[in-house]
């Protein structure tokens, strides 16, 4: 893949191939971020597609000012997730872990995966909103720390501290859940 800056510049000139390459490079990451945040695989698929259609509409407004294209995409995704969750608060939703179960055909693998994702989703409920956002961007979105800082509007130092506190809190929550299961 060519360097992202030149691809974005070509995409801004409505170069189909350049935009298609950006789409392929980022689709799965955006999907994981959205799925983890909303807790529903199928809806995450539609929302991910919508993120890219919105990006297509507004790519001309994107400017290179120290922010990567991926960070810009995650901002669009973040805004869509916020809108979605706001709408959803009035409606009952399926249990998160169940909605996120993988499509693996191997039942044992599926059960293990389900256990992991259920624990993780449940544990992240004990985190602050900022801690959850760091986990989503860093682990689901696979953004480097500098870009997480850009998306969240914080310094890198602050995000590193937040990342540490998030992992510590997550570990505590996971251990606590494990302890409860044994009782």
């Amino acid at each position: 893949m060519q360097d992202e800056e030149s691809l974005v510049r070509r995409a801004q000139q409505r170069d189909e191939e350049a935009f298609a390459q950006l789409y392929e490079a980022h689709f799965d990451k955006i999907y994981r971020y959205v799925a983890f945040k909303i807790g529903n695989k199928t809806e995450a698929e539609d929302m991910t597609q919508q993120v890219f259609l919105n990006a297509l509409q507004s790519i001309s407004s994107f400017k290179w000012r120290g922010i990567l294209f991926s960070a810009w995409l995650f901002r669009i995704a973040h805004n869509q997730v916020v809108d979605y969750l706001r709408k959803k608060t009035k409606q009952a939703t399926a249990p998160l872990g169940e909605s996120l179960v993988s499509n693996d055909s191997n039942p044992q693998l599926m059960a293990e995966h389900k256990l992991d994702i259920e624990q993780l989703v449940s544990a992240t409920k004990r985190l602050t909103r900022a801690q959850r956002e760091v986990i989503s961007l860093r682990f689901a979105g696979e953004l480097p720390i500098a870009q997480v800082a850009k998306v969240m509007g914080r310094s890198q130092g602050a995000v590193k501290a937040l990342q540490r506190s998030a992992i510590v809190a997550l570990r505590k929550a996971l251990l606590m859940a494990e302890g409860n299961e044994k009782d």
Partner: protein, 269 residues
């Protein structure tokens, strides 16, 4: 304070090595033997988190989404190549189109209404539709209009497939996809505040507005549910009769139609 900052940097560096470069926890710990006790449990949690988050969209969805996105890209590129009154606002474009159409005569517009893409009057039909869209004020009315236009596109696809014109089937499928995408967006915008009881005994003006909106939503849902069955069925029937060369394009049209109505109906829920 300095120690904390230093540890945060070490943790971040190890996460980068672990998650991006694919190194093991042991490799990271070897670099920082003094921090092992604190670092190890955090890296284990990080690795477990990463493992739980290995999720992929369904391959069939990804294929469909890729096709839809390519269609949207081509549509954008097409509009860029052929800017229509690009320098005037949308409402003014609509007024200009209406004036031109009026000058051309109502008969032309009426004749164009039933024209197919291989007819010289077809661009008049599309221009009239654009004017209608631009002059339709509410989201609900716009959604109804988009549904009607999607219906026209399906009829045109079937007609052009019968003619064996693959290129036209592809172009109209793109238009259908765009119409259905807009329809889903508008359907989503119209949702909210629908009352459970549609006709309360004593209602205020506000209640009445909500009731009217709920009834309109129900009407739109009925139309979409009908099209969601009828359109793919019509396209499938055309698939049996179409020449071999047109079949792949028709299959894409069926996929676009199924996915589009699914999206729009979901948006109304």
């Amino acid at each position: 304070m300095k120690k904390t900052k230093e540890f945060n940097n070490i943790l971040d560096e190890c996460l980068e090595r672990l998650l991006v470069k694919g190194e093991t926890i042991e490799q990271c710990l070897q670099s920082y033997p003094e921090q092992v006790a604190e670092l190890e449990p955090l890296l284990q949690t990080a690795l477990a988190t990463k493992g739980a988050l290995i999720m992929q969209p369904r391959p069939e969805f990804k294929a469909k989404a890729r096709y839809q996105f390519r269609s949207a890209l081509q549509e954008v590129a097409f509009r860029r190549r052929r800017p229509l009154f690009g320098w005037v606002p949308r409402w003014a474009t609509a007024v200009i189109i209406v004036l031109v159409l009026l000058l051309a005569g109502g008969g032309v517009v009426a004749a164009a209404g039933n024209s197919m893409p291989d007819n010289p009057l077809y661009p008049v039909k599309l221009a009239t539709e654009q004017a209608q869209l631009a002059l339709t004020p509410s989201d609900m009315n716009k959604a109804e209009l988009y549904a009607k236009l999607a219906d026209r596109r399906v009829v045109e696809i079937i007609y052009m497939a019968n003619q064996g014109d693959v290129r036209q089937v592809e172009v109209i499928t793109q238009r259908l996809d765009e119409r259905l995408t807009m329809l889903a967006r508008l359907a989503s915008a119209t949702v909210g505040g629908a009352p459970k009881a549609l006709a309360p005994a004593e209602e205020t003006v506000g209640d009445r507005d909500v009731r009217v909106r709920a009834n309109n939503q129900a009407k739109l849902r009925t139309t979409l549910a009908y099209y969601a069955i009828n359109h793919p069925a019509g396209l499938r029937a055309a698939l049996d009769k179409a020449p071999e060369s047109a079949k792949p394009a028709l299959r894409r049209a069926i996929a676009v139609s199924v996915a589009g109505y699914e999206r729009a109906l979901k948006a109304l829920d």
